[in-house]
């Protein structure tokens, strides 16, 4: 898949790029690729994280391309240090895999881009230009991870909020329902009428957005209200 190269209108300032990766051949390949791009200039390379941190300190590039797994200091640690010292330097993570367990850590460390090593050269160039302008570039499979993880976390957060919106009585009844108790049993246990249990139950489902008992039970398991 070819990523469009936007033609820069102004070549006044070249984007200076630094590359940290412990594979010689990959460095060679990226260097020869970027040499052909008029608005980008490769200004240095490193073989591991420690060397990257030291050289970046000296060269102050606009953009750092950072491998994740390197011997000695890894890409995450190096990204953290570089971003702490120089928040304006942009870091693009180079990863081997289409999914990445370090995504949230890397973003937290301050990375502004994620590119898979198998990507097209035009996408890499486009990523460099985007992050240089202050935007974020995420390879499609990584973008998918981010959105899915985001939506899941939002859902968990909302459930937590909706649970806090329940009354003490409703929480009690939720626990009984999740335990498999029938309305009649719950009414007897709490000394209230079945009708009251039913109306609590309707309110509960409303507040939690559940449509039936199964959804209430699933909710209770997720929330840790009942243990498996």
């Amino acid at each position: 898949m070819k990523y469009p190269c936007r033609v820069k209108k102004c070549f006044m300032n070249k984007i200076s790029v630094f590359l940290a990766d412990d594979h010689f051949i990959l460095r060679e390949g990226i260097r020869s690729l970027l040499e052909k791009v008029p608005d980008i200039e490769m200004i240095g390379e490193a073989n591991d994280g420690r060397e990257a941190v030291a050289k970046v300190e000296e060269l102050l590039p606009d953009v750092v391309l950072m491998d994740i797994t390197m011997n000695g200091m890894n890409g995450l640690e190096a990204t953290r240090i570089i971003k702490e010292r120089h928040p304006s330097i942009k870091v693009i993570i180079l990863t081997m895999h289409e999914t990445d367990q370090y995504l949230s850590e890397m973003l937290e460390a301050g990375a502004s881009g994620y590119v898979v090593k198998t990507t097209s050269s035009s996408e890499l160039v486009s990523a460099i230009r985007s992050v240089y302008q202050g935007d974020v570039h995420l390879y499609p499979s990584i973008a998918r991870m981010l959105v899915e993880d985001y939506l899941q976390k939002v859902k968990i957060g909302e459930e937590k909020e909706s649970y806090n919106g329940l009354t003490a009585r409703e929480k009690e009844i939720l626990r009984y329902i999740a335990d498999g108790k029938q309305n009649k049993e719950i009414a007897d246990l709490l000394g209230i009428s079945i009708r009251t249990v039913q109306s609590h139950r309707t309110n509960l489902m409303d507040k939690l957005g559940a449509h039936d008992r199964t959804e209430l039970v699933k909710y209770a398991i997720r929330k840790g209200i009942i243990n498996l």
Partner: protein, 216 residues
């Protein structure tokens, strides 16, 4: 290879026609039609099951609020790429929450649009760079917010140790398999429990079950 069949949905019919012309110029994409009103979309999608619906976010306003869900109900395999004029955070986030697979700005280049369609068609998500920035901001907000999940505070290594602990392996075995000392495993275990707020092995296993790190 079959062409990627794209349905274009935009209230401005000449904008939609222009987009179709751009798509038709690409040999891997087939623009199969244009829809200009929100009411017609679900029916059209059901009839022609496009691979991708390329839709202006303006279609999701007001009466069109449930439109993305209705597209997904009409054809579950159809993927949805939104186009937006304004980089409106609310709209972008809402689009993803309702189930869209990407968002591109209307001022993007035709090449960007083609790339986005290919990316979404291949199962990825497309976030135009400025939109990616917005989404990363949103993501960091929920990661650090008051409802943050304590699991996210574990390092990848701690997550790995948690999983093996919950599987019932002894500290010594874990130390060997993860190439660390028993003392380091014990330290990790203590830190994991502190972060998750659990106090014994049973609670740790229950936590791992709830998180589906291990199955019964």
């Amino acid at each position: 290879m079959d062409k990627i069949r794209v349905l274009v949905a935009d209230r401005n019919s000449f904008v939609a026609d222009g987009i179709c012309a751009v798509l038709k110029a690409n040999e891997t994409i087939d623009a199969i039609g244009v829809v200009v009103s929100s009411e017609e979309i679900a029916g059209t999608v059901k009839g022609c099951t496009p691979d991708i619906v390329l839709m202006d976010t303006a279609m999701t306003d007001g009466d069109g609020a449930g439109i993305i869900e209705s597209i997904r109900r009409a054809s579950s395999g159809t993927r949805i790429l939104l186009m937006t004029e304004h980089e409106d955070r609310e709209r972008i986030v809402k689009g993803f929450r309702m189930g869209s697979h990407g968002c591109i700005l209307k001022r993007a280049s035709s090449e960007d649009l083609i790339f986005a369609i290919l990316a979404v068609h291949q199962g990825g998500y497309f976030l135009y760079p400025s939109i990616a920035k917005t989404m990363v901001g949103e993501y960091m907000r929920v990661l650090k917010g008051p409802n943050a999940d304590p699991y996210d505070r574990l390092t990848p290594h701690e997550k790995l140790v948690l999983k093996t602990l919950a599987q019932g392996h002894k500290s010594r075995e874990i130390a060997r398999s993860l190439n660390m000392t028993s003392e380091a495993v014990a330290r990790h275990r203590a830190r994991i429990m502190l972060k998750l707020g659990v106090h014994n092995q049973t609670d740790l296993v229950k936590y791992a079950l709830r998180r589906h790190l291990i199955e019964l």
